[in-house]
């Protein structure tokens, strides 16, 4: 009803309701697409922003794969609202949407997110269980079929970086893989995390530079500069393995290895004092600056077809 408070964190139900509201308010632009179910059978819904046509070139954005990173879900909802408000007004966004679709998965780990609201605010993984295994959950950002099981992931189910029993064993990951593969025309993938103020590109599993390293580096630089203009927040950028740490089986490595050249991952702002417990007053500033960086990547994707 237009009363959604963007200066607060919300439950899964409230986010889901807001997604429905957006789809109802902007039927010619927004629709809700179900791509599967989580381990605990929660629906995995994606917002599709489209001005027409089928299987057009598209951009995928996901937030909240690590459930305790609440700022990312909040930024996702704010961004969705920004897209509908700016379409027809912002020349760049209008051009993007006239040629491409945008898919946004706002709650990529719904079971984990529900668990953060009910039982453990600092939960990171999903909620999958296996007979005979004491610890619960798989790190969904170590479960992808790209360098699976390598450095920077863990085979101990009790670890926060447990990669799972096999690549894409988790329904939350498999659903995205199936959707993106079936679509076949996703040209950019942006996976949003928090908190270290970084914008990174593949690889995470290897120190080897990717073939498009130079272009990705320059694009990351431009995006970070655009972000800085909003509130003067400085991000660092580079490949995941050289900027943050080695991490195997991650979303953006899989995307890149499967032909999505513009694959990036964000670590949203860190005030240096709160970690994952970023105060709600920081939601809107974070979303505002992130938007400019997202827009830069989307514009580049539009202007550099491949």
């Amino acid at each position: 009803n237009g009363n959604f408070n963007f200066e607060a964190y919300h439950t899964l139900e409230e986010i889901s309701q807001e997604m429905d509201t957006l789809a109802a308010q902007y039927p010619g632009l927004v629709s809700k697409v179900n791509i599967g179910q989580s381990f605990e059978k929660r629906p995995m819904n994606v917002l599709k922003f489209s001005t027409g046509g089928s299987q057009r070139r598209a951009i995928w954005i996901d937030t909240g794969i690590h459930s305790r990173e609440w700022i990312t879900h909040a930024t996702g909802i704010w961004t969705a609202k920004k897209i509908v408000n700016e379409y027809g007004k912002d020349h760049t966004l209008t051009n993007i949407l006239n040629a491409m679709d945008i898919f946004m998965e706002i709650v990529t780990n719904p079971d984990g997110f529900a668990f953060t609201h009910s039982m453990n605010r600092l939960w990171r993984k999903n909620k999958s269980t296996r007979p005979g295994v004491f610890c619960i959950g798989v790190d969904l950002n170590r479960n992808w079929k790209s360098g699976f099981g390598g450095n920077g992931s863990n085979n101990n189910p009790c670890s926060e970086t447990y990669h799972g029993p096999s690549a894409q064993s988790e329904p939350e990951v498999a659903a995205i893989v199936d959707f993106i593969t079936a679509h076949g025309n996703i040209k950019a993938l942006i996976s949003i995390h928090s908190y270290s103020q970084m914008l990174m590109y593949p690889y995470g599993h290897s120190l080897e530079p990717v073939p498009n390293q130079k272009e990705l580096y320059n694009l990351a630089k431009d995006a970070v500069q655009a972000l800085y203009q909003v509130h003067g927040i400085e991000y660092i950028y580079g490949s995941i393995s050289t900027t943050l740490y080695m991490a195997s089986g991650i979303t953006v490595d899989w995307a890149y290895d499967n032909g999505i050249k513009y694959s990036f991952t964000f670590e949203l702002r860190d005030t240096g004092r709160y970690g994952f417990l970023l105060p709600a007053s920081q939601i809107i500033p974070t979303a505002q600056e992130t938007w400019l960086a997202l827009r830069t990547i989307m514009e580049h994707t539009l202007n550099h077809p491949y």
């Binding site: 200066e7 600092l122 270290s196």
Partner: protein, 96 residues
């Protein structure tokens, strides 16, 4: 609901590769139940780790014995969580 009363988040700044190695070893000590929010990667870069109340003394003694610099980033995680919860409740009341 799990509470985090007395848990602290330490900001640790390893000076060299050897200190990073010590921190990695510390992470592997399962009984300490450490939750690294930011892993130690590069000398001079900060790492953040949530330390359960029961492990605080042991971790600080270890860091000091190895000469690894640290400061307390969050004094009591539960205090911040309570604030976050209060904000959410207040917001819900306002919305109604």
């Amino acid at each position: 609901q799990e509470t985090f009363v007395g848990d602290q988040v330490l900001e640790i700044t390893p000076r060299n590769e050897e200190q990073i190695k010590h921190l990695v070893e510390l992470e592997a000590e399962e009984h300490l139940q450490l939750d690294f929010w930011k892993l130690p990667t590069i000398p001079g870069e900060t790492a953040h780790v949530r330390v359960p109340f029961v492990s605080i003394q042991a971790v600080k003694v270890f860091l000091e014995s190895q000469g690894i610099a640290y400061s307390t980033m969050i004094e009591d995680v539960q205090v911040l969580l309570d604030k976050e919860n209060e904000e959410m409740l207040l917001n819900r009341r306002r919305q109604r």
